[in-house]
């Protein structure tokens, strides 16, 4: 029976790997202090859920649409924050997360607001339903591997090196005649696209979404994964996802009085994270500082 629990954890890890690696593309490799990633995740989840549930759109179409729609939001965000950098960009993108959260909460005719969307169907491809958790895990694993492969290829390509150059010396790159905004916009769109894909997987796996799943606290989880793994470290994001998701699960097996169980686990979890960052300030595999 332990397999069911492990399968569930692996599915969550798969979804969070996509989220973390895609955030690292914008945050780590491009140097965009993007705090709007959770909004892309939410947009993807809602797009996919609404398309399949309300309009009866087949899952593959909804799945791709989730990514494209999130990518569109990424484009809008980078366009709106074109002239911002560093802390200002972080604040603006954080504001964007709040705007999307407010939309999900208040546009009740579309999103059902705080009631959320229950009963989201499991995915199916051309009549082949992915109903069991094992088949869902295989599906998530495929999507995760493909997503990671694409992002890895981007990072290692000449385009990826340009992204890193724009992070390290934007003025220098501009002097060389490169359009750095175009580079950043592409990185943000790709990053948002994969966050949207992860959102679609999340919605169809949990089968219920409401705005509370896409709030600032959930952004902190993804940021923690990226920072603990190391900024601009592809491997770090993947390893860190396993660690950050599995630590609280490991803590479940420490016997504690039920009256202190919840808070005590959270405190231990926080201490472990602090320990990691104190021992390795740049994260587990970090190469650059977050400025």
């Amino acid at each position: 029976m332990i397999e069911a629990y492990l399968i569930h954890l692996l599915i969550l890890i798969g979804i969070y790997v996509i989220l973390a690696v895609s955030l690292n593309l914008a945050l780590g490799y491009t140097g965009l202090l993007n705090l709007g990633h959770i909004a892309f995740f939410g947009v993807g989840a809602y797009t996919s859920a609404l398309l399949t549930k309300s309009l009866g759109v087949p899952f593959p179409v909804a799945f791709i649409a989730a990514g494209l729609f999130a990518g569109l939001f990424g484009f809008i965000l980078i366009l709106a924050t074109k002239k911002l950098k560093g802390d200002y960009l972080a604040l603006a993108t954080l504001g964007f997360s709040f705007v999307v959260y407010s939309l999900l909460l208040n546009w009740t005719s579309l999103t059902k607001g705080p009631l959320g969307i229950p009963g989201i169907q499991k995915p199916s491809f051309f009549g082949l339903a992915i109903s069991s958790n094992v088949s869902f895990l295989i599906f998530v694993a495929i999507v995760c591997v493909v997503s990671c492969f694409i992002i890895y290829k981007i990072i290692k390509s000449p385009f990826g090196r340009l992204l890193e150059a724009s992070r390290d010396d934007e003025v220098g790159l501009k002097v060389l005649g490169k359009n750095t905004f175009k580079l950043k916009a592409k990185a943000m769109i790709v990053s948002a696209f994969f966050a949207g894909i992860a959102g679609s997987l999340f919605a169809h796996y949990i089968s219920f979404i409401d705005p509370s799943s896409f709030y600032i606290t959930d952004l902190i989880l993804i940021l923690t994964i990226v920072i603990a793994g190391g900024i601009a470290s592809f491997k770090g994001s993947i390893v860190s996802t396993f660690i950050i998701i599995l630590i609280p699960e490991g803590l479940r097996f420490f016997e504690m009085p039920s009256s202190i169980l919840g808070p005590a686990r959270q405190i231990i979890y926080a201490l472990i994270l602090l320990g990691i960052l104190m021992l390795r300030p740049k994260g587990l595999f970090g190469r650059v500082d977050l400025e």
Binding site: M1, N106, P114, L115, P118, F208, L261, G262, P263
Partner: protein, 359 residues
């Protein structure tokens, strides 16, 4: 050789330990309780814990030790609640799942259903029931659609024509509004929604004062209600307030509550209250009411297990539905239905600033 001996000793110890575990758990039904022990709704989880401990102690005092409750934290969120459910079902092999709060209950419902475990829950809405009617039982808490219809009846009886509906952006607000609209179709409802913990009510109340409503219905949580009352008094608004927040509507300082404020609630058994307060001092009425529902849940399960030693889902469900248990929170039992029908009454803050039942 030394290593082999060591391995044998460890192996034997493990076998004895596991056998001991099984022996200890024999004759017990396991409940996996997924409670919001941390996060925005931790007040619920903390007090539900107290109710569960008291119920287990009470049963033990009666010589009944047939329930084991394994608690996990939902962090007041949906996805962690699903993870907790998977762990409880897969590793702890629980016989039933109990969840608290609407979101986690809806998220856990399909997991419980697919694993064939009866799902007991506590939420303000009926959504999990609609999705999995054969597998879900609501063992406590108010039903906002039904309970707010009592407000609707009161509004209709008093010939109120127009009300302001100050709604927290939460699932239960939608259900409460539906309950009022259904029971008082002639009453015009102007809605003013607000975000929980993030509203000072000044602009909402200014608009309300200009529009001269017959009554104000408000939904939300204690901190919001207290802020609302305070701003009402500041703006000298005397419109009747109907508070759809049960015991959460109350303030420890009666002077802070608007005169004539009406809320719905259910009585808590005095015997239970005494035992609870003897063990945990200084619990508010709201906290007592939260503890009462989980206390009842454990007793429902204990009783059902004595009827269904096979732990079969359908049998357990039927036993709970048919139970005549004298609940700590005043109720009429399940009456064969899918939720515990609380005996909801209307209470009013009267001139002497006391709370009296509105007949």
């Amino acid at each position: 050789m030394k290593n082999t001996k060591m391995a044998i000793v460890v192996g034997m110890a493990l076998v004895i330990f596991l056998a001991g575990c099984n022996a200890a758990n024999q004759g017990k039904i396991k409940v996996g309780a997924i409670l919001p022990l941390t996060g925005s709704s931790s007040i619920w989880g903390e007090n539900e814990q107290k109710g569960i401990s008291l119920a287990l102690e009470d049963l033990k005092a009666q010589g009944i030790e047939n329930v084991e409750v394994i608690t996990e934290d939902s962090q007041s969120k949906d996805a962690p609640a699903v993870t907790a459910a998977q762990k409880l079902i897969s590793l702890d092999d629980v016989d039933l799942i109990y969840t608290s709060l609407t979101g986690p209950s809806i998220a856990v419902a399909p997991v419980a259903n697919s694993s064939g475990k009866l799902h007991l829950y506590k939420a303000a809405t009926q959504v999990p029931i609609n999705n999995f009617p054969e597998n879900s039982l609501k063992t406590g808490y108010y039903n906002y659609e039904i309970d707010c219809s009592v407000f609707g009846e009161l509004l209709a009886k008093n010939n109120y024509k127009k009300i302001a509906y100050v709604a927290a952006k939460k699932d239960f607000s939608t259900e409460c509004k539906r309950g009022i609209a259904n029971s008082a179709p002639s009453v015009a409802i102007d809605e003013y929604s607000y975000e929980v913990s993030n509203e000072d009510f000044m602009s909402i109340l200014t608009k309300i004062r200009e529009s001269e409503y017959d009554a104000i219905v408000i939904t939300g949580y204690n901190a919001d209600f207290l802020k609302f009352y305070s701003k009402m008094s500041q703006l000298k608004i005397n419109t009747t307030v109907l508070c759809a927040g049960s015991e959460d509507c109350l303030s420890e300082n009666p002077d802070l509550m608007p005169l004539g404020m009406v809320y719905f609630g259910a009585y808590i058994d005095n015997n239970f209250k005494e035992k609870l307060l003897a063990k945990y001092a200084n619990m508010s009425i709201l906290e007592q009411s939260i503890a009462a529902t989980s206390y009842d849940m454990v007793r429902f399960v204990s009783e059902a297990y004595s009827v269904c030693p096979s732990r079969q889902r359908e049998c357990l469900k039927k036993a709970i539905q048919d139970s005549k248990l004298d609940t700590a929170i005043d109720s009429e039992g399940f009456q064969g239905g899918s939720f515990l029908k609380l005996k909801v009454r209307l209470f009013e803050v009267n001139e002497t600033k006391g709370v009296i039942e509105l007949k």
